[in-house]
């Protein structure tokens, strides 16, 4: 277990290193920091001098070393647009996205487990068939389309729910939360449902197929032969084994969810990281792009490492990932 953890952490460090190299490369190729910082009304000599002062004439590895050193201290440069440290902008926008991901994960978890398990143990029931039919329709509708349809129906036609923004926020320290007001919940409802609209059917199908595979196994047949009740066989013997692959895939899918936040936030003008990212793309705000890359990269690596460690804890026979 210890060796397993060390290997995992080591791998995480390598990946973070690779991300930082990519981030550095982006920083070098997008935009000219001198122009962004000084404006156009500066003479050529001053500009050369400025380049020297910023260390832009140093060899690339020296520059990378500086970049990495700053990054470790939380300094990812200054946003061209906001004229503030990129890290600060990221931290200000992060709560919106994290709350969105949290609520939609909650929706996914709450519905996928019972529905997936049910359709696995009663595969021939009408409900399961209907569920499987609608789930394939669900995975075929892009997230942004679901979001737009919801806006059209619930905001424009019915005027039930607000179509953009986060609503009334409550400040908790530096964290502006929308989860403590009714208005906040009304605002987060549609974005979070839209965000979970593809993941939910995907998870239902995953849990179902894994559980059905487990139910075919010898040890389940043996559990029946021991005279155990349906409850015990399904929810202790089968479900625990279903969890293992679901945890692994769940970790991967969380990464996909972050990509989907960009789409959802764009439709709902949700003031989170995804929205900020698209704005940064339009404005060629390189430091902010790099900061976003680093932040998302670290979050993903963190989540994946945690997922692997949980997997190691749940599974008594730790099989190193990849050797399934």
């Amino acid at each position: 277990m210890i060796a397993f953890m060390i290997r995992r952490l080591f791998q995480a460090l390598i990946v973070i290193f690779i991300i930082s190299v990519i981030g550095f490369a982006i920083k070098q190729s997008v935009g000219d920091p001198v122009r962004e910082l000084t404006g156009i009304s500066v003479s050529e000599e001053e500009r050369v001098e400025f380049r020297e002062k910023l260390g832009l004439n140093d060899p690339w590895y020296v520059q990378y070393g500086r970049f990495f050193g700053d990054a470790i201290q939380g300094d990812l440069g200054t946003s061209f647009f906001y004229k503030r440290p990129a890290t600060e902008v990221i931290l200000e926008k992060a709560p919106a996205t994290l709350e969105l991901v949290f609520v939609s994960s909650l929706i996914i978890l709450l519905f996928s487990v019972p529905l997936g398990v049910f359709s696995a143990i009663k595969p021939d029931s009408l409900f399961s068939r209907a569920l499987m039919g609608s789930s394939i329709v669900g995975v075929s509708i892009p997230v942004f389309l679901t979001a737009i349809m919801m806006v059209y129906l619930f905001s424009i036609k019915l005027s039930w729910l607000p179509s953009y923004g986060r609503g009334e926020l409550v400040m908790l320290g530096g964290w502006g939360t929308g989860l403590l007001t009714l208005d906040g919940w009304l605002h987060i409802l549609m974005p979070s449902v839209a965000l979970s609209s593809i993941m939910l059917p995907l998870f239902i199908r995953l849990i179902r197929s894994e559980m059905m595979e487990v139910l075919e196994s010898e040890y389940i047949k043996y559990a029946w032969a021991k005279g155990l009740t349906h409850r015990r066989v399904w929810f202790v013997h089968a479900f625990k084994n279903t969890l293992l692959p679901v945890i692994t895939v769940g970790g991967v899918q969380l990464g996909v969810t972050i990509a989907f936040t960009i789409l959802t936030e764009t439709v709902f003008q949700w003031q989170g990281l995804g929205f900020m990212f698209m704005e940064a793309v339009e404005r060629s705000d390189a430091p902010l792009l790099v900061a976003y890359l680093m932040f998302v990269g670290i979050v993903m690596v963190g989540v994946n490492t945690i997922v692997d460690l949980i997997y190691g804890l749940v599974n008594p026979t730790i099989r190193i990932a990849g050797v399934k």
């Binding site: 040890y219 043996y222 029946w224 084994n241 749940v314 026979t317």
Partner: protein
């Protein structure tokens, strides 16, 4: 053994298990397939019976049908499974569950696949006890589990209870499964090829352990296997199955020494030790038919050295051969009123 049997019959006692005309079918997408076609045998208290045959002969499915646990799409189409006079093929789910793992235990073929990988041995043992004795305390269950682990010679059982299946070797796991089978002091154990997945050296150990326990605990045993040598070692009676039917029944020693059905004769001739040193092994020519295309008449007729015209038309019933064995073969005259010869 036959003396015990006649004693029991004479005194009007019910047999431990009486399987009667059992027909098991599989409802496949492409049509129905018959897995067993009228299997009958009886087992007395404490008796050990060997159910022998090639893979696909229907012996495993017969074993599982006793506790009504045939995998879908299989089902019991007709026949009875009388366990101490109660037809288990027809009782409620609730009732059969109270018998499974309690009064009839099963031992599966592959110990590597049988135990749940994410539950400790202790959990998998005590859950059976709690299931069948809801009022039993944790300490009591643990004590019983430890006792049974000692019975199957697992060293330091206290430590072992907290471990997971992958921490045990195959032979150890099969011992644990035997210990689980013993937990509730069942009247009958059904062992489906309990040693095939194990190393040869461990096979004998496990078989010996199983036989010893059946004797000391006075349990009935149905040993399902393709290995005649093992059956000869452990059981008192044999039922030989071929293509879904019992083709020969009788006391083990007599079936092995003087088989009556040509199929059994072929099986025994094919055993390595029966042919002399350096000679070729005798094989039965041909293959057992698959369930989908069992030939008309006696299902063995295409491979039978003594095949006659009648064999291709009429299914032979069980009848006495030249000794007291019952054989389903037209070589012997049929009996009208032999109750067990059906």
């Amino acid at each position: 053994m036959s003396s015990i049997r006649s004693y029991i019959r004479a005194n009007g006692m019910t047999s431990l298990l009486e399987v009667k005309d059992l027909v098991i079918k599989f409802a496949l997408r492409t049509g129905e397939v018959t897995a067993t076609n009228g299997v009958s045998f009886t087992l007395e208290k404490g008796e050990r019976l060997g159910l022998v045959g090639e893979s696909g002969a229907g012996k495993s499915v017969t074993g599982f049908s006793i506790i009504n646990l045939i995998s879908k799409p299989g089902y019991i189409a007709s026949g009875e499974v009388n366990f101490l006079g109660e037809d288990l093929a027809r009782v409620s789910d609730e009732r059969i569950r109270s018998i499974r793992g309690n009064r009839i235990s099963m031992i599966f073929q592959d110990p590597m696949m049988t135990l749940n990988p994410v539950l400790t041995i202790g959990t998998q043992m005590t859950e059976t006890l709690h299931q069948h004795n809801p009022q039993m305390s944790k300490a009591e269950a643990r004590a019983i589990a430890l006792d049974k682990l000692r019975k199957v010679y697992i060293p330091s059982p206290e430590k072992r209870l907290g471990q997971y299946p992958h921490e045990f070797s195959g032979g150890m796991r099969q011992r644990i499964i035997i210990a689980i089978a013993l937990l509730t002091d069942p009247e009958l154990i059904i062992a489906d090829e309990p040693t095939t997945a194990l190393d040869v050296t461990i096979q004998a150990e496990i078989m010996e352990l199983l036989m010893e326990l059946c004797e000391t605990e006075d349990m009935g045993l149905i040993l399902i296997t393709h290995d005649l040598a093992v059956v000869a070692q452990v059981t008192q009676n044999i039922a030989v199955m071929y293509a879904g039917s019992v083709v020969e029944k009788g006391p083990t020693a007599q079936v092995v020494a003087d088989p009556q059905h040509p199929y059994t004769q072929g099986l025994i001739a094919a055993l390595p030790q029966s042919s002399g040193h350096g000679e070729r092994l005798n094989q039965i020519p041909g293959m057992m038919p698959t369930l989908k295309n069992i030939p008309p008449g006696c299902s063995f007729n295409p491979r039978c050295p003594h095949v006659m015209e009648v064999c291709k038309q009429q299914v032979p019933s069980l009848r006495s051969g030249k000794n007291s064995n019952l054989a389903a073969c037209h070589l012997y005259p049929p009996e009208k009123d032999n109750p067990s010869a059906r």
